[in-house]
Symmetry: C2
């Protein structure tokens, strides 16, 4: 018998992240990593921080330098920035700040599955709102007792983007999870300035190619940010990740060049998949979501895996299945399309 | 008005970590950092992991390599090891796994103040049990409804150690926080094998000189560990900190040589402070706790700070004040003692 673990924890299955094979033999198109390396400035910054004196001492708990850089790059006050050990850490901090045990979290479906896990860990209820056929959400479906809504925008796994104006009247505190927004045409940052109910979260894992170092942040009103700082672990970001994240954000040119390559490949893959008979959403992210009406997709996922190509097979209750394919290098996507043609 | 932040969060002050001055002009003896650099193998391991491919990809969410190394070094099954982004992350995970909102956390006083903050964030109650004059705790003072107890052993700020056998009959789930145990004569790891109620936590910040990279872990029964993995963020430890922590733990010779130096300096400082008229606890940690009956200590703390030496001044309700002085290099401790003699 396990002593006194909370019943909500015992009852939950736990979030399952995408497969992370420990051998390097796979073309890995399953967890939306960037296929290109981070900025050379990231390596310089880590090397500079890599001294005995920096490693043995605690890092800056508030992340001043990162916050000043992010504030400057994004055009917001540095007091609006919360630093996090990956945007998962930021989403956890937000959940703990806004949602009591027994509270209510709302998020869309089909969408990122972590929000349900965050509700389960907190002992809160979780309510899903289905996307409409044109990938919008009906704010009238939000229950009155909501404590927090999470809306990823662009959404995963679909890559679809909702315009900021459609979210202005969303009821209650709203977290707009912009993990993929650097690949989109617009963002919702200006909503934070308009309302203290709005929080935007960002990740350095995707557009800045830093999934390995774990860094994300939130942009909120200074008053909300001050409350969030009470909830975070004092030293949640380490000295090397702070240095890396600051350098990555400062090198916008590298990120934008990288972004342009990925978007070009994304558009090419979308066209190729449509040519093969898939329905593909117009993606504003670094992945595409594709479905078929004429056959099941799980066998295709398994056959690709057998051929050492990993994509993400997903099934959502009430919606159905699909494959989410991360945008790799041009050569990786060529290889994927060739194998798909052979299998079909 | 801040929208819908939970009342327990709004009401709390937030944990205040020790001062981390951003200029390097201070002799820093206030946050129990190791005065010596980490193992050279740590730098090699970070350099090896510092590739574009490792940075752009997610790290191993389960930390297999670290767990195998830690299991081997500690003589426990790797299934008993939970990896954490600093031991603060581990303490947060434990709180969320064991303590419901409105639950009860017990910890001693005078002791580590973070446990109260963890209770506040979780919306739980916090009950303190005072140490006896010989630095023991009376298990009969634990309320029947306890969800979790935290006992740091060695304790901070006193550096005192309770023998493992005195904790065997502690009621309810017990977290033995062994952040400082590598500087002590014994530890409580064997208690985890005896009872699923027992969890030991460790930090790499102190004995391994890695406060900057944030790494800690828990040792618990495999069944409890499996529940804790559901609560942690999937990717809570980054690729560089995993590499650093694994290399640090594998180099026991470096840690032990470092430990011996620090213990020698600790014993010298204890003697010097007693010679200056302080009451000093026999410390089993990398700091000493000193008090005076004849005068207030806050002016001494401030005067040392003015002279660019930072120590930690602390005051505990119902107990009184004291100075906690981290063990620095021999030269740093010489400088401290000289300045104290001048001030006195």
């Amino acid at each position: 018998m396990i002593p006194s673990i909370r019943s909500n924890i015992r009852a939950m299955a736990g979030y399952t992240p995408g497969e992370q094979p420990r051998d390097g033999a796979y073309v890995k198109l399953n967890t939306n990593e960037n296929p290109y390396p981070p900025s050379p400035r990231v390596f310089e910054a880590i090397q500079k921080a890599l001294t005995g004196d920096r490693l043995r001492k605690y890092p800056d708990p508030l992340g001043h330098e990162f916050r000043e850089t992010a504030g400057r790059v994004l055009g917001v006050d540095s007091a609006c920035i919360l630093i996090g050990n990956g945007s998962d850490d930021v989403l956890t901090i937000l959940t703990r700040a806004f949602v009591p045990e027994g509270g209510l979290i709302v998020s869309p479906t089909p969408s990122y599955l972590l929000y349900k896990t965050l509700a389960e860990i907190q002992g809160a209820r979780h309510h899903v709102i289905p996307f409409t056929h044109d990938w919008r959400l009906d704010a009238n479906q939000v229950p009155g007792a909501v404590n927090l809504s999470f809306i990823p925008n662009p959404n995963s796994p679909t890559g679809t983007l909702m315009p900021a104006e459609s979210l202005v009247h969303w009821p209650g505190p709203l977290i707009i999870d912009e993990a993929y927004v650097d690949f989109a045409d617009s963002n919702c940052l200006h909503l934070v300035k308009q309302s203290e109910r709005m929080v935007v979260t960002r990740s350095l894992s995707k557009s800045y190619a830093l999934a390995g170092i774990r860094f994300g942040f939130a942009v909120a009103s200074p008053a909300v940010t001050a409350e969030l700082y009470k909830v975070k672990d004092s030293y949640n970001c380490d000295v090397l990740s702070l240095a890396a994240a600051t350098a990555a954000l400062a090198d916008q040119a590298h990120m934008l060049a990288n972004r342009a390559r990925i978007i070009a490949t994304r558009n090419r893959l979308t066209k190729a998949l449509r040519g093969l008979g898939f329905e593909v959403c117009d993606s504003q992210a670094n992945f595409v979501w594709c479905r078929r009406r004429d056959c099941r997709l799980e066998p295709l996922y398994l056959e690709l895996k057998r051929r050492k190509i990993l994509v993400r097979y997903m099934h959502f209750e009430g919606y159905g299945e699909g494959l989410r394919i991360s945008i790799g290098t041009e050569a990786e996507i060529d290889r994927l399309v060739e194998e798909m043609m052979r299998i079909a």
